[in-house]
Each structure stands twice: as structure tokens, then as C-alpha cells.
Symmetry: C2
Subunit: 347 residues, 2 copies
């Protein structure tokens, strides 16, 4: 087997601690298997601003493009808050540079952590859906963008092609799940939403055994809370996906555990924890390593088709949680390294 190239963007504040934990698990799980990989680390985000004055240096783009997968840990924080060329801008750029137009955000409650949900148990129990968020168009990238002293303008735009390719990602995913797609938009107000809806109506005819419903974004923001088990695959535009996927993330009560993946039609995918760089927790060995570890699990499954290794990780996680060797944010007393060691032990 050919050695896989993994690009490492280690993140800011708590980022490197999470990355270290994740890589320790990757190292352990691949011991004595035929899965071989090499890691190449690049500057990105705040770290890159400090080192070379910009959040996404050319070398980083080139390095990521050559890789088979990219692992990114959380970036940004107070140190770079006043930068115009901010870490967050780097994030927007890298999505674009790598053509990562599909952001995949699973919302699945780990049974043993259900009681951490802010929702009542009978509502949250059994929740398992995925938000497929369009990531490289919409209001995030539309022009003109105007910023004058006394007025400002942002532009949302979507093409048929952009909508079709993200629909494809979502509908294909639904085939491997419960075959239930919900298209979320604001078609009663927005032209782009109406194009989404029309395109989806047509596109879905190729998936006759898939249940498709259309829901306004405001109604969806409600239903995610009142009946999260309703959903299987949500497909939506960039901004709506940003808001709804964060709303969905806290339902699980364990933000620190959730991974995400971003994909294009070709090229490496990018895997990252969904939460921020947690500046106030940094360098205290307190951060929950699960979102990074589960991002690596996702990478093994989706980029490298190593179900075997991915499953070993997921079983080790469940076991470790059952043993209560967990960080404070999900009700335990373990440090980052203790929890990571326990997972490795349980592999």
C-alpha cells in the first residue's frame, strides 16, 4: 500500500493540544497494520500570521493540494481579533482554494452522553442527522461587497451548477442513510432560495425512493429543537447551514465531541473539529480531544476507506466514555492526555 500524505494544520490556542491527541490515536490505531502515512505540517491561521504575516501562505495551499487529506484543528482567538487578514479569512480562502464546497456536519448523540443535552431526554433520544452545508458560495463569497461609511452591501448568488453539485452530495448521502432529505431555504422571500427549491424539485426525480421535504429556515430552526429525530439529511445554503449546524451541535450537549468534514468533487478532503480554539482552556490539558479524534475517524472512513480502523476508534471511544474517563465539559475529571491515553488503551 502506498503511503498516505496527510497535511496537518495544527491550529491556535487549544488547537495543537487537540491535534496532538488526535495524532496519538492515529499513530496507535495504525500500529501493526498496513496503513501507512506521512504527516506534513504547514502554517495556517493565527500561527501563520505570526510566522509569515498572512493566515494562508502559498506553501500551505500547495502542501494541502498535494495531500490525500487535510487535518485542521481549531484556529483564531483574541490575539488576532483586530487583524483585517484574519485567521477566519484564511479558513474561507482554504475552502475556496481546495474547492471544498460541501461541509458535512453530523449531529448524533452518543447514548452515554444523552443526559448532557439541554433538551429533555425524550426529545433528543435517537437524534441522528447530517447537515450538508454549501460552503464556497452564497453570501460568503458573492460580489459586490460594499463597505462605506454610511452604507454596506453583501450579495448572495447561486448558480444552478453550484446547487446541483451540493444536492448530489446530500442525496447520495441519504441513500446510505434513511433516504429522507430536507431542503432548507427561505423561498417565500429569496430568489436564490427559489432557485434552490426548483433545482431540488427537478433533481429529486432521479431519486424516486427518497422522501424529500422543503422547509423554511425559520421553521427548521424550530423543528431542530422540538423534533430533532425528524431529520435525516438536511441540505442548505452556506449561511443557513452555518447557523443551523451550530444550533444542532449544541443539542447533543457535547460540542467538544463533534467532527466535521469538507469535500469537493476531487482533491483532498478537510477534517476538523467544529468548535473553536477555546483560548481560555489552552495549555491546561483540559480540552476535550474527541472532536479531533472523531475527525480522524471520519478521515479514515471517508478519505481512506479504512472502516476497520475507524470502527476500532469509535468502539474505543464508546468504551472510554462508559468507563467515565472523560473531560470536564462532558461531566468527567480526566485531562486531555488521560482521556486520550484511555482511548488508545481501549483500541
Amino acid at each position: 500500500m502506498e503511503k498516505k500524505k496527510i497535511a496537518i494544520l495544527q491550529g491556535d490556542y487549544s488547537g495543537p493540544e487537540m491535534m496532538q491527541a488526535g495524532l496519538a490515536v492515529l499513530d496507535a490505531v495504525s500500529q501493526n497494520t498496513d496503513f501507512e502515512y506521512e504527516l506534513n505540517q504547514y502554517y495556517f491561521g493565527g500561527e501563520a500570521i505570526d510566522a509569515v504575516g498572512e493566515p494562508l501562505p502559498k506553501e500551505t495551499v500547495a502542501g494541502c493540494k498535494k495531500a490525500d487529506a487535510v487535518l485542521l484543528s481549531a484556529i483564531g482567538g483574541p490575539k488576532w481579533e483586530k487583524e483585517t487578514n484574519s485567521p477566519e479569512k484564511g479558513l474561507l480562502q482554504i475552502r475556496n482554494e481546495l474547492g471544498l464546497f460541501a461541509n458535512i456536519r453530523p449531529t448524533k448523540v452518543i447514548k452515554a452522553l444523552e443526559n448532557h443535552s439541554p433538551l429533555k431526554q425524550d426529545i433528543i433520544s435517537g437524534t441522528d442527522f447530517v447537515i450538508v452545508r454549501e460552503l464556497t458560495s452564497g453570501i460568503y463569497f458573492g460580489t459586490p461587497r460594499v463597505e462605506e461609511k454610511d452604507y454596506a452591501v453583501d450579495t448572495t448568488s447561486y448558480t444552478l451548477e453550484e446547487i446541483t453539485r451540493i444536492l448530489k452530495v446530500g442525496f447520495e448521502m441519504a441513500q446510505r442513510r434513511k433516504k429522507h432529505v430536507t431542503i432548507v431555504d427561505k423561498a417565500n422571500v429569496l430568489a436564490t432560495s427559489r432557485l434552490w427549491r426548483k433545482t431540488a424539485e427537478k433533481f429529486s426525480q432521479d431519486y424516486p425512493d427518497t422522501t424529500v421535504d422543503y422547509m423554511y429556515v425559520d421553521a427548521t430552526a424550530m423543528k431542530i429543537i422540538t423534533e430533532p429525530t425528524f431529520f435525516d439529511v438536511i441540505i442548505t445554503a452556506n449561511l443557513f447551514g452555518d447557523i443551523l449546524s451550530d444550533e444542532a451541535a449544541v443539542l447533543t450537549g457535547s460540542l467538544g465531541t463533534i467532527p466535521s468534514a469538507s469535500a469537493g468533487t476531487k482533491g483532498p478532503r478537510l477534517y476538523e473539529p467544529i468548535h473553536g480554539s477555546a483560548p481560555t482552556l489552552a495549555k491546561q490539558n483540559k480540552i476535550n480531544p474527541l472532536s479531533m479524534i472523531q475527525s480522524i475517524e471520519l478521515m479514515l472512513r471517508d478519505s481512506f476507506e479504512r472502516e476497520d480502523l475507524a470502527n476500532r476508534i469509535s468502539r474505543a471511544i464508546v468504551k472510554t466514555i462508559a468507563e467515565g474517563i472523560i473531560t470536564a465539559d462532558i461531566g468527567g475529571q480526566a485531562s486531555t492526555t488521560e482521556m486520550t491515553a484511555a482511548i488508545i488503551e481501549n483500541l
Copy 2:
């Protein structure tokens, strides 16, 4: 005292039943007081489409402009779903025609109904905040709006003046509350959001004893669930306000109880229930009348400065809920008219 003119837009499907309930309470509470009013009913929404072919006839605009306040019940429904000139378009137009740029959405849990919240009781208990949503600009009204076969465009725009006047509504409201304002935006991506933030930073200097924080809309969507008691007054743009206020509304577990008000700098304010016209419940004497009754309570308080009458209504509501004479959606068995009669009895 001069007779107050109230314009009545009775709504579609369950709308008229709610309106009738509300007006019965208004009639009862003003008996033997010096509060005098006249009602003038106009076509609006689906009803107007059926009668005269458009959702907002000129006579309705003229009638509302002459009024001291407008009462609107829920509009729209399946019957008019395929209309291009839809009931919802009428809603957007009337906001604009009456200059109602501020939508005020209280999220307050009625103690006796706390157990209906989808959230755990320790999280929801004590929640009491208001979302002040900009209502006549932003992506709802920006041009160009393009709808072609293979691409579409929507435009968001905000002027300094539009932002300043809504900030004023929110900051003034905070003075009468806990003096805590949260400005919600997506300033890490949007130019309009950065203008909101800059404008707010400057504007807030006139309110030195008010605590102001700035929060991204995605982070807010999380915090509304994990710590709703954090908020006092949220001020935000049209689309963000649409999504967040609906998210907030379901937290109370009793969507059928929540009123809303829309205001401009002058002219009549508009009061309406926040939920839809509930087509499947229509004409069965089942709809919860509370959101309409509480909208009338708001009207008495804010448009007519009749705290006395408003307080009598709110006490009667609390008493009726305590007696359990409530509709099915909040756990009782009473019909719309039974619940309304009980509230009138308790006035």
C-alpha cells in the same frame, strides 16, 4: 377620552377564531372603563386575494394608516401556496407601507408552562428576553434581486440610518429592562454586519450604563439553547432576527401563546401572534387564543398606555392557566371559546 381606531385584519384559516377570541377579551376588559375604541375591518392576506385578487389592497393600506393601532391575525395557508402575489408578500408590503422597521419579539416563559419547554427546566427557568428584529431592510428588500433559469441573486443592504433607528428602539427598551444589549451579526464575514457593529459601538457610547456585547449569529443560535437566561435585549438584522426569534419562540414550549409587535417612528403599530394560521386546526374551536390575546395586551400597553387594562388581562391569563382551563397544545382540554370565556371571567 378620544375613541381609538383599531384596524382589524382577521387572518386566514385559524386567524378569524383567534381574532374573535382576542376581541372578546378587549370588549370585556374595556367595559365600564373610559377606554373607548372602534374597530374597522379590512381585507388582507389570503382573504384579500379571494375577495379582490391581491393580498394588500389599497383600501387596507389607507385604513391602517388612519388607525391608531393594527391588529393582525395569522395569514396564509395551502389555498394560496401557488400564488406569486402571496399572502406573505402582503405581509412584507404592509410592513414597508406602514414603516414598521422594528419587530419586537418577547421570549418569556409563563411559569406554569415551564414544563412544556423542550429544554430542561434548570436551563429554561427565568428566561425573559426580547429580540428586536430589523424588519424593512436587509436581504428581504435589497436590490438587485435576480431570478434566472440558471442563477439567482439576492442583495443585502443596510444604511447607517436604518441601523441607527433600530439600535435606538433596542437600547431604549433595554433601559426599561436589565440594560443588557446583545448585537447579533456575522461581522467575520459580512460587510453589512461590520457596519452594524461599528455603528453600535459608536451608538452605545450614549448609553454608558448599558452592558453591550457582540455575538456572531451562529454562536447566538447555540447560546439561545444552552443559556437563554443570558439574554435581555437582542438587536439584529432582518434575516437573523427571523431565524433566531423563531428558534427562541419554541423554547417556551408554547408557541401558541406568544405575541409580537411591529413599530415605526410614528404611525400605528401592528400587533400579531407569532405563529401561523394553523390550517389543520381551523374551524374546530381548538386554536390557542393566547397569542392574540397577549398581542392585544401589548397593544393596550404600548400603543394606548393602558397598563391598567393590560395588567388585568395578564393576571386573568395567569389565573386561567393555573386553573388548567387551557387548550390542548399546552396540555389542557379546553376549547378556544372555553379558554377565552375563562379569561374573561377572571378579568
